[in-house]
């Protein structure tokens, strides 16, 4: 159970939108993280550098955000994230997320932010589908098993 944090959620969301908008305006690229990440393999030299730069900058940004966030807004927790994953769940879930986003052509950011921002029906179908299966999965794990 976690607290509802509308202010930090909205500020964080605005920054994510700013990032997606910047990557499109400046580079003409979609800020779909699964696509940027999945596009690293197989190696394609001319297309690789910007992906690696983005992917290295992302966790550095997270460290910065986790440093300044709690200092500015008291609703942001200063505890590091607790993943609580057993190795088996980490591997299974990682494989499902990697394969699923590749086959479905996007994730929460690619379909959920960038695709919906272009009013893509394809992305709307993707978002409704992964939201539905994620909700069912959490329900089964927490309330059925």
């Amino acid at each position: 159970m976690t607290e509802f944090t509308p202010l930090s959620a909205s500020i964080g969301g605005a920054l994510i939108g700013l990032s997606a908008g910047l990557l499109w305006l400046a580079n003409g690229r979609t800020a779909g993280i699964s696509g940027i990440f999945g596009g690293v393999m197989p190696l394609r030299p001319g297309d690789l550098a910007w992906r690696l730069v983005f992917l290295v900058a992302l966790p550095i940004g997270a460290i910065i955000g986790a440093g300044i966030g709690p200092a500015v807004l008291s609703e942001i927790s200063d505890a590091p994230p607790q993943l609580g994953l057993s190795p088996l769940v980490a591997i299974a879930a990682g494989l499902l997320v990697g394969a699923g986003t590749r086959i479905g052509g996007g994730c929460t950011s690619g379909h959920g932010i960038c695709g919906l921002a272009r009013f893509s029906v394809r992305s709307l179908v993707a978002v409704l589908t992964f939201m539905a299966t994620a909700i069912v999965t959490v329900y089964v794990v927490r309330h059925v098993l």
Binding site: G28, S34, I76, S77, L83, I135
Partner: protein
């Protein structure tokens, strides 16, 4: 390296940095927060955490506004061209892949962005997930490319699109 290709790395880095700051401020780097949103059974007892909807909603509005700014541009500021929009077709890979992704997302509370962000915040805990995610993406990509090659695609270049 041309001036524009160097600049495009700077803007890609800035976008990655801002994305990571945003995820951490929104606390989407915490899988417990994501699972608390997905756990809609808690709506009934008033403990549901709708934060993720605010992240997505505000993120979407800002992106819509900025995509509009790009509309009159013949090409991006520093990139060579705007990436072509994917085919608008709703097909079975879209639905099946998204369904599979959602199961993994619900199991771990991690989607690709937060997983990579957590390489900075909880590297030991998230590393195995990220390696599995890369393997899953790569394996699925190979399978898709092989199927594309053996089917009726005229140029057999599905892997490069």
């Amino acid at each position: 390296m041309t001036r524009n290709s160097t600049l495009s790395l700077v803007t890609a880095g800035a976008a990655g940095l801002i994305f990571g700051i945003g995820l951490a401020i929104a606390q989407m780097t915490d899988p417990q927060k994501v699972k608390a949103f997905l756990d809609v059974a808690t709506i009934a007892d008033g403990t549901w955490d709708p934060s993720l909807a605010f992240v997505m909603g505000v993120g979407l509005l800002v992106t819509i506004a900025m995509y509009r700014l790009a509309r009159p541009l013949p090409k991006p500021w520093v990139g060579a061209a705007f990436a072509p929009a994917p085919k608008p077709k709703v097909d079975s890979p879209l639905v099946i892949g998204s369904a599979v992704f959602g199961i993994g997302w619900g199991l771990a509370g991690l989607c690709p962005g937060p997983a990579i962000a957590d390489l900075g915040l909880a590297p030991g805990e998230v590393a195995l997930f990220v390696v599995a995610m890369l393997a899953g993406s790569w394996g699925a990509g190979l399978t898709l490319a092989n199927r594309g090659r053996s089917s009726t695609l005229p140029h057999g270049n599905a892997a490069t699109t």
